[in-house]
């Protein structure tokens, strides 16, 4: 199953972290320097459970949500059967309580030189009923992505990153295929060209502090080292927001992101954008449409 490509990606991902860390020093690293730092690089301090902090929050939505577009699955009766009430697009999913689902939330800055080995648990992207499950998800650099076909009919999985290498593979039957990503990138679009409505987004980061808002709009980033963080929220229609958060030992900070329907007008939705955790640039990021300062709250 594991193709040569996978091997390459895994190797790349192993070398990626120290290099990113080297960038954090601010000096452009040539190959030789990077090699030296590579050797010197040490794993960051493990998070001590006794001090670990939590950032939790909710993504609110204001205004009138667009009506979900229904998907015509007549061409694939087997998929249509799995949606007795009809299927609709997941571009904007506003929950009953007025919160917004499918928002990718991750720690964008503040983790310093710490390194976090990828979980050995794979992330599963399931194609079921000609719909991706989940629609938006996060994964760590080097972590295995298991792409599953539960439909038993032809899907192709076309990942179109900018910073990572792309892939476009076919799954005409029930099967699993594994892939992984070599460098951080928020977000990478994944689509099925056979079924034009099938679209997913994956956020690749090099730490475990990422989440996607669910059917109550909430998210939780736990087991964080105490510190100051920039937390970023990404939505495919409404764009990006960030929040500055400081958490002390064993503290839990609550933050809120609020999107409104009007943001769709001018939203800059980054796709294939390189992110650099250790790049301490200021608030001049053109991608940021709104900044909410949660510092000092709770």
């Amino acid at each position: 199953m594991m193709s040569k490509l996978n091997g390459v990606i895994v190797i790349l991902s192993l070398t990626a972290l120290p290099v990113v860390a080297a960038c954090g020093g601010g000096a452009p690293a040539d190959e030789e320097q990077a090699g030296t730092e590579d050797a010197q690089a040490e794993a960051g301090p493990a998070v001590d459970p006794a001090v670990a902090a939590t950032i939790t929050g909710v993504v609110n939505f204001e205004g009138t949500a667009p009506e979900p577009e229904s998907i015509d699955m007549d061409a694939e009766p087997d998929c249509a059967e799995k949606h007795p009430d009809g299927a609709s697009t997941q571009e904007v999913v506003v929950n009953d309580d007025g919160t917004l689902a499918n928002v990718f939330v991750h720690v964008r800055e503040g983790l310093g030189d710490r390194e976090f080995p990828a979980s050995s648990d794979p992330v599963v992207l399931d194609q079921d009923g000609c719909v991706y499950h989940p629609h938006v998800f996060g994964i760590q650099v080097g972590q295995t992505l298991t792409i599953r076909n539960s439909d038993g009919l032809l899907h192709n999985i076309n990942a179109r990153p900018e910073e990572n290498r792309p892939f476009n593979i076919s799954q005409p039957v029930d099967m699993d295929t594994e892939r992984s990503f070599a460098v951080p990138e928020v977000m990478i679009p994944i689509q099925c060209d056979v079924h034009g409505w099938m679209q997913a987004y994956v956020g690749v980061v090099d730490h475990p502090y990422h989440a996607v808002s669910g059917d109550d709009g909430s998210f939780t980033l736990e087991n964080l080292p105490p510190g100051e963080y920039v937390v970023e929220a990404w939505h495919e229609r409404y764009g990006v927001q960030t929040a500055n958060v400081t958490v002390g030992e064993q503290e839990t900070e609550e933050i809120e992101f609020t999107y409104d329907a009007g943001m769709a007008q001018n939203a800059d939705v980054p796709l294939g954008d390189p992110i650099d955790l250790h790049d301490d640039h200021g608030g001049d990021d053109p991608r940021i449409t709104a900044v909410e300062d949660a510092d000092g709250d709770g």
Binding site: A29, I157, E163, P166, F167, G272
Partner: protein
Amino acid sequence: MVGLHERRCAPDRTPRTRHAAAVAVRRHRTPPIPLALALAFALALALPAPELRAQEADHPGKPVYDRWCAGCHGVDGTGNGPAAGYMLPRPRDFTRARYQIRTTASGELPMDADIRRVIDEGMPGTTMPGWEDQLSRRERDDLVDYIKTFSPFFENLPDPEPLEIGDPPRVSEEALAEGREFYQEIECWQCHGDQGRGDGESAPTQEDDDGFPTRPADLTENWLFNGGGSVEAIYTRLRTGLDGTPMPSFSDLIDAEFMTDEQLWNLAHYVRSLSPEEPPEVRDVVRAALIPEGESLPTSPDDTLWSAATEPAYIPLVGQIIVQPRWFAPTVDGVWVEALHDGEELALRLTWNDPSHSPDPAWLEWQQRVLDVVEPNEADDVEARPRPDAFAVQFPRTLPGGRELPYFLMGDSREPVHLWYWRSARPGETDAPDGDSGYAIEAEASGLDAIEPLAAGDDGAEAGGAGPLTADASWEAGRWRMTLRRPLRTADDGVDTAATEGEIPADADGRTQLAAGRAIPIAFFAWDGSNAEEGTRGSISAWYYLYLDVPTPTSVYTTPVLAMMLTAGLGLVVVVRAQRREERNDDHESNETPRREA
């Protein structure tokens, strides 16, 4: 690897330019592409060109690239050269290092030889020509190296490894049958269609990585395959996929033991078998055989009487790019022509591939997407709306005695042409019913957008036109087949055209009078309504010739017999006389012999 990050961390984050542009183009659904393209273009102008490595300024490939490649691919390698807007598919964006034609796995970088092959041979079916004869070996090597400098991936990733491609197993009936089974099983037809003509259910929604509309290959035209039409090339494309397009890699199916390598080869054999053994040879003359007396001409495209026709002639068609608005993304790239006549009437069978039976609402969005990306000045105020497919056969009104011909693009006001003009739907029809064969009229044209029916008011709205031209067309699995029939002569002036060697004028209405035994200029036009084609936006051919066989005169049969008899008779006389002389000589010699001995 290192450089990638280095570049990303560098204070001058030039790659941003590219990201911004890419994002703008990608989000074509909202806002639509023209806006996004304009935005991308504006960004490209506003922001500095990507900074190249210092040594690249004097890279030996740069002058070659700037001179020959930058017009389409752009000086900065983004695929946005000045001519790019006139192309679909668009030129490759080298900065992303996504190459369709590779011998490496999906998503991997290409081998140098892969890039080199495309430079040498071009990409058939696109505007990319081959440069093997234009540039020296050295120049082409330099180009490969220079093109790679546009993307940091080449510098930062380990050298790619080619996939191991073995030798194809022998092709056999069983192998082809198994290939066909897998064609069904792994659903190649979803995009390529049941018969491989690129007419699958998903065909109208396909887009490439930049959001541009793209078509699944017509698998029955392997001479237009990107990367080559051999079974080895097809197998390699199945293994590698075509990066940047919807065509995925099927290598994982072998890894997952869903199918064996041999079965994938058999699929490649099957796909290869959908095209002719050899690419069609283009000849100047289409021959109409004369059917034997007492037999009838075929009436429909499926008529078995067509077996009497000679080998079909292939006429390549190209987008009309002479008269504005021009058309750079035509659907129909060729038509197969067969012809028969009985001395009184001509029957043409025209076969061309078109993945849509227009007008078809399923293709309306495709139309819009195509219109959105063609140069605005070429599609001003054109809206996506239901349009029929159309086909025209063009003749000069007057059969010329000399070599002078009307302008091949439907003549001009000075010298109009005569058309047999067919459309797949009547005016106002927005969805062509299955089995509807459309209608044909005769028309006079004095330019691509000046077609006038000969019978006043004959716009086809009335069923069963009164004219002498009849049509029978049917669309199936991505292919139109049509029979057109018309009497050779429609004039009742009593002129014996067969005996005329000079000009033959049109009849009183302007219909071309056809005659056997002479070269009749003929040209072809096709429009795919689902591709927004009509008027000047369509496929065209140059002038060809139609030749109607003449009856073989009896002298053809009697003269050789007479000649043989005469020869045999003369031969006999010579032989007999020679024998007699021999006999006399023998007598003479026998008389003389003793004398010699003496």
